[in-house]
Structures are given as structure tokens and as C-alpha cells.
């Protein structure tokens, strides 16, 4: 929610919405703590948020010697040479996955996800 000055002020409901987006279950004390702390931290970011947009400052800050400084956005991403092959794994997923029956990562049933989405 926004306060009358136009600055963002995060309330309890907003914290719960963000936690849901971030796939985090928070206890009541955490909700209260993060509500206060996120507001404190974002108050310090207000100078940035209040700045006039500056399209001339949209370039990427990296300077690779073999290229002109790239502009921002997906076009600036460098892709890995597809011929480069990572090292063979010394252990398969069964060594570290929580559940890996029959060569597959196992997760709870999809029906359960539908139930979680209901109000």
C-alpha cells in the first residue's frame, strides 16, 4: 500500500503477500519483524526511488575488453559456448535429492497444489 506522500509503506497484508510470492511460510513474530524491518530498509532506498528516471544511465556497468560496453536487457547477455561441456557428475541426483524413485524427482501430488490455491 502507499502512504499519502506516494512513498511505499509495507503493511502486514503486503508482507504476507510477498511471503506467498516468495514461497516462505512466516510465523506471526516474523511477520511483525519483517514488516518493521522492510519499511526501515526501504526508507533508506527512498533517495533512489525518488530520483528522476534517467534513460541515459541504462547501460550495463561492465566493460569487457573485447566488446563495447553492452546496453541493458536480454540482448546484452552473453551466452556460453555450447561446445563447452561441464565435468561429469561424480554422483547422480539420487545422492542428494530428497526423493528420487525410479530415476525421477518426486514431489507431492498436483491435486494438493490445487487445494492450496483455494481460499
Amino acid at each position: 500500500m502507499d502512504d499519502p506522500s506516494g512513498r511505499a509503506a509495507i503493511g502486514r497484508a503486503e508482507v504476507l503477500r510477498i511471503a506467498r510470492l516468495a514461497r516462505l511460510r512466516l510465523g506471526d513474530e516474523e511477520v511483525e519483524l519483517f514488516t518493521r524491518q522492510l519499511n526501515d530498509i526501504l526508507a533508506h532506498a527512498q533517495e533512489i526511488a525518488d530520483a528522476e528516471p534517467d534513460a541515459s544511465a541504462d547501460a550495463e556497468p561492465y566493460a569487457f575488453a573485447d566488446e563495447e560496453p553492452a546496453r541493458g536487457g536480454a540482448a546484452s547477455l552473453r551466452l556460453r559456448d555450447p561446445s563447452a561441456q561441464p565435468d561429469p557428475l561424480v554422483a547422480g541426483p539420487e545422492a542428494f535429492a530428497p526423493a528420487f524413485p525410479d530415476g525421477l524427482f518426486a514431489v507431492p501430488r498436483l491435486e494438493a497444489m490445487d487445494e492450496d490455491r483455494s481460499p
Binding site: A8, E30, P53, A65, F96, A99
Partner: protein, 486 residues
């Protein structure tokens, strides 16, 4: 006050040479490191994993075979616990990766082993490298070897403390906003953050991918250069690693120590010497500037006018990237899983709730918020523009003929355990002088410049992109000047 004893008074290059010629055995060096590791870990909680038998076996193999010909032959090295190793767990200081053993090794680890280094253990760190004190480790805080009631800095606090306590002559850490240089400063050792792209990130657990970079910690500038020379260079497995020649970094450090700083122009940004700087830190920095001038350097005022934006900019961009990078920890592919009976979303939420600590949750929440609809433009886009302004400040300074820039590394010396944990933004201010280099992608090094009230103080040398040779030359010149030779 000089602090704890170092691993060995000889430079790393001399240690390796002694192993290559058979004058010293890799096993003897490994045994020395392992003999110190146990007591130091018991006192300071600086290691999360070690395997003495494997370490000794690696040393024996070096002594028996042709591998001892490498530039780091037999040199014991400690690794921050966010660098993937196939023989030791890689937990990132987090419960969500407890007992996780990577099925492959980081490029930097492979390069160290190929150069003859002997890995002695994985060091304690703030969870997922989020912190400035190593108090955010799920396995308890690491302590400062100079004063165990104080933090060693972070997030690479275990690596800095392992070097400072004399367990190893060098260690690897990682930087996102100052996590090598700041603990180096607080623990009284040298810490290097290379140019973004100088070192492969393959096998470095991702925190904020546009900022992350592996760095080195050691007792001297030349030793930090010797290790960086081994791990640096383009890697086809990391598209952001740059195909730029690494050069003779040890030679650059030697030149700085032998020839002094005549002809070198050092920029001094007054924005970094204002309010908030502890008196003892300011005094040591002024002493360092005088020493560099006496060694022949020209000191020149420069302006980095957007320095004050560094911390808020960093704490928008880094959490935004972290919220995306850490989405992979969901109880499906790695680590533990909690509450699968509550359904898929319930399992995700409970696993992440129990697996992550408070600081990681806070940053995931912050990052999710600044990337969410309605707030992306207000925070994330503007932070990217502020980042460009910070980079432009450095471009202007280096473009005007400055070879390197000197600042304090940290505004304070090591602070007390628990002193800042209740106030996250106060903790974040520990990065005020270091985060600018990460945002701009330039290299930086922290060099011990003395003590204040018995605690180490670090001074920072920053250089232009891929100008690590200049950075090492100036840092070694400063180190030599402070040691009494100019």
C-alpha cells in the same frame, strides 16, 4: 600490536619452490595446517568441514608424483563453503544445504588442485554469503582471532580468520558487496576482489549473479596475487568470465615493493573520509596516505559523488537477484524436505521456512518486493540507474589520469558479537566503501594499514577494470612503505 602468528614467514612462492625441490614436503605443510586447524576451530568456529585423511593423501600424492611441479605445490588452502567441492560438503552456511556434497567441483577448485594446492577445509560464512559478520551462519558465528569477543567480518569471515590465525597461508572467499575485503580488514589480512569476469563463477553458489566474484585472502599482497594468478582467466563454463590476459600479478607486486610508488597517481575521494568514520580508522588511513606520498606517489583529490547511493543501491539489486537465485531451494532437488503431506506449495513454504535463516528470508522478501508489480520501476529500475552513476564516477576518475583510488575498507574496526544483529541497515553500512566496486565491476584490495585500539585496520586500493596488475603494484608499494621501506 602484531596479532596472531602467520602460517609461515616465507612467501607462498618460496613454500611451493621448497616443495618442488624436495627441501620441504607437502605432507609436512599439510600436517602443520591440520595441527592448527583443530585448536583454531575449537576456539573460533572458523571451519565447517575438513577431512584430514583426504588432505594428507593429497599431500602424499604430490610428494610422490609429478604434480608437485605446480606454482602452488603443497601450499595448504582453505575454501569458503560456497565453492563446490566433490569431496567435502558445500553448505553455504545454511541448513537448507546441510550435508550437501556437490557432484562436481568449481573451476577455481580444479585450478587450485592442478597448481598443486592442498585443500584443508571449508570455512564458515554468513548463510549464502548474506552478511558482514559471519553471525548469520546456521552453524554459529565465527570469531575474530584478534579478539574472540568480536566478529571477523563477513561474509568470508571463516576464510579471513583461518589466514589470520595462521592455519593456512591463503584462502578463497567470495564477494558480492565486500565480503572478502571487509573481513580481511577486520581480521588483519589482505583480501582481493578481482574485476567482474576475471575469475570463473562456475561452481560458486549463486547469490547475486551480476555482482558475485571469487576472491583471495592471504598474509601479504604478493601471496594474494600468487593465488589469484592461478584461479584467474577465462573459463568456457562461465559466459561472464572474460578473455583478458591475466598478466604477471606477482611480478607487479614485486615491482611495487622494490621500486616504490614514484610516478603513481593515487586518487583520494573526500566522500569516503566524512562522518561515520571511526577516529582510529581515519588516523591509520591518513598515515597510509602519508606513507604512499613518501614512497613517491602523487596524491590527488577526486570525487565519487554517488558513493552515498552505494548501500541502498546494493540492497535493492543484490536481494532482487538473490530472490531469483534462491528460488531453486525448494525441497525437490537438494537438501532436506519438510511437510510433504501438506501438498506441493505447503512443502515448498515449510522447507524454505525451516531451511533458511532470518537474514536470507529478509533479503528474499526484500528482493521479491522490489521486483513485484508496481515496485519494479520505483526501486529496481532506479537502482540500476544509480548503479550506472556509481560506475560513471569511477570512469571519470580513472579517465582523468588517476592510476588507483585509496579509501578506508570499512568505516570501523571489528565490532562486538551481537552488536548489530538487531538492526539490519546498520549492519549493511559495513559495506559503504566496498559495495561501489562490486556495483561498478572494478577490482579492489584491502591491505592491513595498522591497528586502532588493538584491532586491525584495512585500507582499500581500487583500480580500473582488469587493471589488477596496477592494483597489486600500488598495494605492495603501500605495504612496503608501511613496513618502513620506501
Amino acid at each position: 600490536m602484531s596479532g596472531p602468528a602467520r602460517f609461515d614467514p616465507r612467501p607462498i612462492g618460496d613454500l611451493a619452490q621448497a616443495v618442488r625441490t624436495g627441501e620441504e614436503s607437502a605432507r609436512a605443510l599439510a600436517e602443520t595446517a591440520l595441527a592448527r586447524l583443530g585448536p583454531a576451530d575449537e576456539a573460533l568456529n572458523i571451519f565447517l568441514a575438513s577431512d584430514p585423511d583426504a588432505t594428507l593423501a593429497a599431500a602424499d600424492a604430490l610428494d610422490a608424483g609429478p604434480g608437485a611441479a605446480g606454482p602452488l605445490a603443497g601450499v595448504p588452502i582453505a575454501l569458503k563453503d560456497n565453492l563446490a567441492t566433490a569431496d567435502l560438503p558445500t553448505t553455504c552456511g545454511s541448513r537448507i544445504l546441510e550435508n550437501f556434497v556437490s557432484p562436481y567441483e568449481a573451476t577455481v577448485v580444479r585450478r587450485l588442485r592442478a597448481a598443486g594446492a592442498v585443500i584443508v577445509g571449508k570455512t564458515n560464512m554468513d548463510e549464502f554469503a548474506m552478511g558482514s559478520s559471519t553471525e548469520n551462519s546456521a552453524y554459529g558465528p565465527a570469531l575474530n582471532p584478534h579478539d574472540p569477543a568480536r566478529v571477523p567480518g563477513g561474509s568470508s569471515g571463516g576464510s579471513a580468520a583461518a589466514v589470520a590465525a595462521g592455519v593456512v597461508p591463503a584462502a578463497l572467499g567470495s564477494e558480492t558487496g565486500g565480503s572478502v575485503r571487509q573481513p580481511a580488514s577486520l581480521s588483519g589480512v589482505v583480501g582481493v576482489k578481482p574485476t567482474y569476469g576475471r575469475v570463473s563463477r562456475y561452481g560458486l553458489v549463486a547469490f547475486a549473479s551480476s555482482l558475485d566474484q571469487v576472491g583471495t585472502l592471504a598474509n601479504t599482497v604478493a601471496d594474494a596475487a600468487a593465488v589469484l594468478e592461478v584461479i584467474a582467466g577465462v573459463d568456457p563454463l562461465d559466459s561472464t568470465s572474460a578473455d583478458v590476459p591475466v598478466g604477471d600479478l606477482v611480478g607487479a607486486a614485486r615491482a611495487g615493493a622494490e621500486e616504490g610508488l614514484r610516478g603513481v597517481v593515487i586518487g583520494v575521494p573526500r566522500e569516503c573520509f566524512g562522518e561515520g568514520l571511526e577516529g582510529g580508522v581515519r588516523a591509520r588511513c591518513e598515515g597510509a596516505l602519508e606513507a604512499m606520498a613518501a614512497a613517491g606517489a602523487e596524491l590527488r583529490d577526486v570525487s565519487l559523488p554517488h558513493t552515498a547511493l552505494a548501500v541502498p543501491t546494493y540492497y535493492v539489486i543484490a536481494p532482487a537477484e538473490a530472490s531469483s537465485n534462491l528460488a531453486r531451494y525448494d525441497g525437490v532437488r537438494y537438501g532436506p524436505r519438510w511437510d510433504p503431506e501438506t501438498g506441493l506449495l505447503g512443502m515448498y513454504e515449510e522447507t524454505r521456512a525451516r531451511g533458511f535463516g532470518a537474514e536470507v528470508k529478509r533479503r528474499i522478501m526484500l528482493g521479491t518486493y522490489v521486483l513485484s508489480a508496481g515496485y519494479y520501476d520505483r526501486y529496481y529500475s532506479r537502482a540500476q540507474q544509480a548503479r550506472m552513476r556509481i560506475a560513471s564516477d569511477f570512469r571519470a576518475a580513472f579517465g582523468a589520469g588517476v592510476d588507483a583510488i585509496f579509501t578506508p575498507t570499512s568505516p570501523t574496526t571489528a565490532f562486538g558479537l551481537g552488536e548489530r544483529t538487531g538492526d539490519p541497515y546498520r549492519m549493511y553500512l559495513a559495506d559503504v566503501f566496498t559495495a561501489t566496486a562490486n556495483l561498478a565491476g572494478i577490482p579492489g584490495i584491502s591491505v592491513p594499514i595498522g591497528f586502532a585500539d588493538g584491532l586491525p585496520v584495512g585500507g582499500q586500493i581500487l583500480a580500473d577494470h582488469f587493471a589488477e596488475a596496477t592494483m597489486f603494484r600500488v598495494a605492495a608499494g603501500l605495504e612496503r612503505a608501511l613496513a618502513g621501506g620506501s
